[in-house]
Amino acid sequence: MASRGGSEEQDNTRGTVKNMSDTHITRREAMLQILRVAGAGAVTAGAAFWLAERSTRPVATAAAYAKRDHTVPASVALPQMVVVQGDDPRALVRQAFVDLGGISRFIARNDVVVLKPNIAWDRTPEQAANTNPDIVAEVVRQCRQAGAGRVVVTDVSCNEAERCFRRSGIQAAASVEGAEVILPDPARFREVDLGGVVLQSWPVFEPFLEADKLINIPIAKHHGLTGVTLGFKNWYGILGGQRNRLHQQIHQSLVDLAAFMLPSLTLIDCYRVLLRNGPTGGNPEDVALKKTLIAGTDPVALDAYAAKAFWNLESDSLLWLKLAEERGLGRSDFENVPAKFTRLD
């Protein structure tokens, strides 16, 4: 614009005849100028009114309640809890599935199966702070053989996730069998209403929300606050956020989580059992070789049995089992649950 004005001035000085058109712009040009400025003004005002209209006090969007029920129908002919003992962790898994009526009872073709082992700590398998990688790998293999579309292995670790996944041996073992091993990507958490007594809106790691079937594969360990950490406590690993607050009402939290996420099946790895200094352990002296796998469809009975078998804890002393029973999640009197015991030699 400035350059054009300049050239007009030059024309003026050079011009010999002065008329209106030299000092004044034409009507057409004036119209154009008015239109231009009016247009810019209208856009500015429009944008301002539109933005002013949009101003609302920020309110957190309410999380959707999404209970996850992956249970399969019970059968009177089949046990709800099986206990298998033997030297080979993989054989334990195979036998457990046979005793429970076969993998096809749990997995349909093209299912997205999510396995939830415990990969919480930067520990090696010998330290028994994470689920045994052979057990996880064998479950992956069984699911693949049953025709699962995708088998996902994931957990939200406590320690640095990349180290936990690698040093637990689970990343390598599960990948070899064709699992998709997913690290807890901080960008992939979704706010969900857990609908619990103390747990309402919490961030849940997405793969757990996208499963057709869910298999819980915890490891049996000692825990300072609750005495033991078994299948129920493993559900902490689906959550993100500030989950260290859960300990304040740990029993109710455990039950809230278990009532939100109902697995198709639970396998408690008791091959190596961390008897003391759990759940992190570290010292092989704390680990006892029990060579046992407890599996079944009644999560309450499974936890009650493991607590009694390895720590001699009565289910009456474990508050969360009582609360879970009241909530209808299973039976804490495992003696009365249809069970099968197998020893492989």
């Binding site: 930067d122 090696t124 040093r167 637990s168 200094n277 992190t280 010292n283 092989p284």
Partner: protein, 553 residues
Amino acid sequence: MLVRIRLIHLRRASQVFFFLLFLLLLVRTGFRGATGATGEIQMRWPVRLFFEFDPLAALVNALATHALYRGLAWSLLIVLPVMFLGRFFCGWICPIGTVHHFFGNLQSERKRGRQWIESNRYKPWQRTKYAILVALLAAALCGSAIAGWFDPFSLLVRSLTLSILPAFNYAANAALTPLEHSPIGAVRAPAAILHAVLSATVLNFRQPHFQLGALLGLILIVLLALNLRVTRFWCRALCPLGALLGFAARWSILGLHKEAASCDNCNRCLLHCQGGDDPIGTAPWHKAECLLCLNCVDVCPQHSLRFRFFRKRAEVAGPNLPRRKALAGLAAGLSAVPLLRAETAMGRSRNEHLIRPPGALEETEFLGRCIRCCECMKVCPNNALQPAFAEAGLEGLWTPVLAPRIGYCEPSCVLCSEVCPTGAIWNITPREKGWVVGVGQQNSQPVRLGTAFHDRSRCLPWALATDCVVCEEWCPVSPKAIDLEQVEVPDAAGNLKLLKQPHVDPSLCVGCGACEYACPLQEHPAVYVTSIGESRSPSNQILLTRRKEKAQS
């Protein structure tokens, strides 16, 4: 047509190669560059390479410690050829030199025509770098490695690690995550692919954060912007490594041969000169300033410039540092260390947050070695190591401190000690670190970083009669350094409640900070680690002895 391979093309190829190698090693300084399955995780890539080839780091290490740590003797591979050939390292290899070279070539209002030519003539202020070098070496002789503030590799790694790469990490996620969820498929797919590629190569799994990182980025940006006034201002005026190599080139046998008679003062050589060494035929050549970029040889229309061995021509051979400037540098270096060490940081009232990484030497030894390269902060898996600002006194600026609120020290990890090029964090194995198996039970004591304490006025079981003990859950040593005591306490309503209250056992605590990190009171944790009890210090201790046999519970 015959394609002639020009030497400047070789130089450019060399610069690009070494710059990419530098970047590759930098992004590999982390979990991606580490190997190991269920066993120990170790660095597979030679990520220290550029520091081991850094003669300044080596000389400072030698002056301050009277020895050369690990691979630093490799820097002879740079020094010796430079002695024979001149500062080719600066023009052909140095990655920060390459960055400055690139920015120096950008068009600039302040570098046009005569101004451009004049800016490339030799200037007396180019001798500043020699004075800086003398000061830094004098400080090294007094046992302080503050040379790291100016070391070019330290500068570059520090700026990139603590500022530029974290910023890139943030920007990439912020830009690509919404695009990945875009309703338009044509946008979604490429964004997802790009994000996956970046995630697999450059991006961190967790966004890194560093104390005052933006300041470090700003320093680099200012140094780069100076190129718009004077090409390679950093290399010409400030770089102490360039100065050291300028001294080393004193007797080099390769040099610029000028056919002064054929020079018609066209100034083309000056236009493209990188070092500011007066390649023009009518002025004496400044050998110590020349970076051997060969631009002058390439552009001279008279072909009157050539690099030749064993010339006999008038030149300014040495750095030409006047005695007064040399003495000023010496005085600055010699007085800096006593001044810095008279601060409180080195005295009785040490900062409680001065928690050094595992393997770190005793504080004076540490400051004599640490060149503030921040490789340890790059490799730390938990973002736990932060550049000190005030924690370690002014002398300890940008040295690593553990900030447990941001991240704790991973029990089996010793990567910081593996990447440290100067032994400030001495190379240790996970076994020597001793946090994995039976702390307090083996013969060799574990490396301790400090000791944890509970703030009973904030701790939930102590102050609010509420269950918690996450600190005990996370405590990584076995037996655990946090004991639980079952007590019956009245809650706010006056009802008696059965609770477990945590107690730290200082004879077992290694100061990893996991408890502080995991404490639910995250902005001001109710359990916190201070440096007291750190095994590197003989004086910063609480207990008479920490060798305590603990009965198995």
